[in-house]
């Protein structure tokens, strides 16, 4: 997969998936980044304002660190990466070796419900990109 350049059509479809599966259920903000810290796309609910560029750099670093820690203890990866706050939570999931889906959501959404919807979104995105 070459994600260096993503077509307008692909991005629109991805945005549709993110809106349908995640923004609609009340997620504040969802970002797809690559492991180098670049933003592929970002979608929010219209009210939250995050500095997504700094966020992407830190999130890529964070994920890479956790991944390296997993390898140190003999795990292939830690499949659930989740930060819980009082008002805001952050959930990370791997789309493939190069891409991450990051979801920021408030206290009114349960983690289980969010994860179900993240899985659905991931399946659709992978299908779109032909990732196995």
């Amino acid at each position: 997969m070459n994600y260096g350049v993503v077509s307008q059509e692909q991005l629109e479809k991805i945005d549709e998936i993110l809106s349908e599966q995640l923004i609609k259920i009340g997620v504040d903000c969802v970002i797809i980044i690559d492991m180098a810290g670049n933003i592929i796309t970002a979608k929010d609910n219209g009210t939250s304002k995050y500095d997504v560029y700094s966020f992407a750099a830190l999130a890529a670093g964070n994920f890479a660190t956790v991944d390296a820690m997993a390898k140190l203890v003999g795990e292939q990866e830690f499949s659930l990466l989740f930060h819980k706050g009082t008002d805001c939570n952050i959930h990370f999931s791997k789309i493939d070796e190069e891409l991450l889906l990051i979801t920021m959501f408030g206290k009114h959404i349960s983690l289980g419900f969010l994860r179900l919807n993240v899985v659905k979104a991931l399946e659709q995105i992978r299908k779109l990109w032909g990732v196995k």
Binding site: Y3, G4, V5, V6, S7, Q8, L11, E12, D34, M35, A36, G37, N38, I39, I40, T41, D51, Y53, S54, A57, L58, A60, G61, A64, T65, A68
Partner: protein, 201 residues
């Protein structure tokens, strides 16, 4: 690896400042952050230890304006310079498009510069990148210390040590006063943009 968003017409390019510990990588970014505040819309992110040493990286997103209708966003990173942090240095190098090697021009730092450059060469190999191919600019930092009587390596020696095979553009600089800091940045941006254009367009 750079990323081009065709819908919003944004190009993101990753430039990493690499070099030995206490060489002035963070100071380069701090100077850029102060000097070009109009082009920088967000805060500089610094992950550092209590002793003010870089722990993971510094990050500074820099807006270059538009080129051929595309908005160019340069993501500037530094690596932690301390020897023990090579694992984190490698993580920061992931997807790098252009590099500035910040060497410390003090005589006492001669060996550390060479070691750090060698390690950069090894680290890039792990990402299947070559130090001979990737856009690279050398910066011989701290030349201002010469006026304070601190022994500084002549540029010819630094060139011989670090740049005799690479033959990349170089600048004497002072990250503290800003001397040649913008010039280094301009050079690496132009080299990187040309290389990204070749790769992706």
């Amino acid at each position: 690896m750079s990323f081009i968003n065709l819908r919003e017409k944004i190009v993101q390019v990753k430039v990493v400042y690499y070099g030995p510990g206490r060489g002035g990588k963070t100071s380069n970014l701090e100077y850029i952050n102060r000097k070009f505040s109009k082009q920088i819309q967000s805060e500089m992110v610094s992950l550092k230890t209590h002793g003010d040493r870089t722990l993971f990286f510094d990050f500074l997103p820099f807006d270059m304006g538009k080129i051929k209708g595309y908005e160019l966003k340069i993501q500037l990173y530094t690596v932690p310079g301390q020897v023990k942090y090579n694992a984190t240095r490698k993580l920061v190098l992931k997807g790098v498009d252009g590099l500035v090697f910040v060497a410390d021009a003090q005589e006492a730092m001669r060996e550390k510069n060479i070691r750090s450059l060698n390690q950069l060469h090894e680290n890039l190999k792990e990402y299947k990148e070559s130090i001979f191919k990737i856009p690279l600019v050398m910066q011989y930092n701290k030349v201002d210390l010469r006026d304070q009587g601190i022994p500084i390596l002549p540029t010819a020696v630094l060139e011989q040590d670090l740049n005799s095979k690479l033959k990349v553009p170089y600048f004497e600089a002072s990250a503290l006063t800003g001397y040649n800091v913008p010039e280094t940045l301009k050079k690496i941006i132009s080299l990187t943009v040309v290389s990204v254009q070749k790769k992706l367009l």
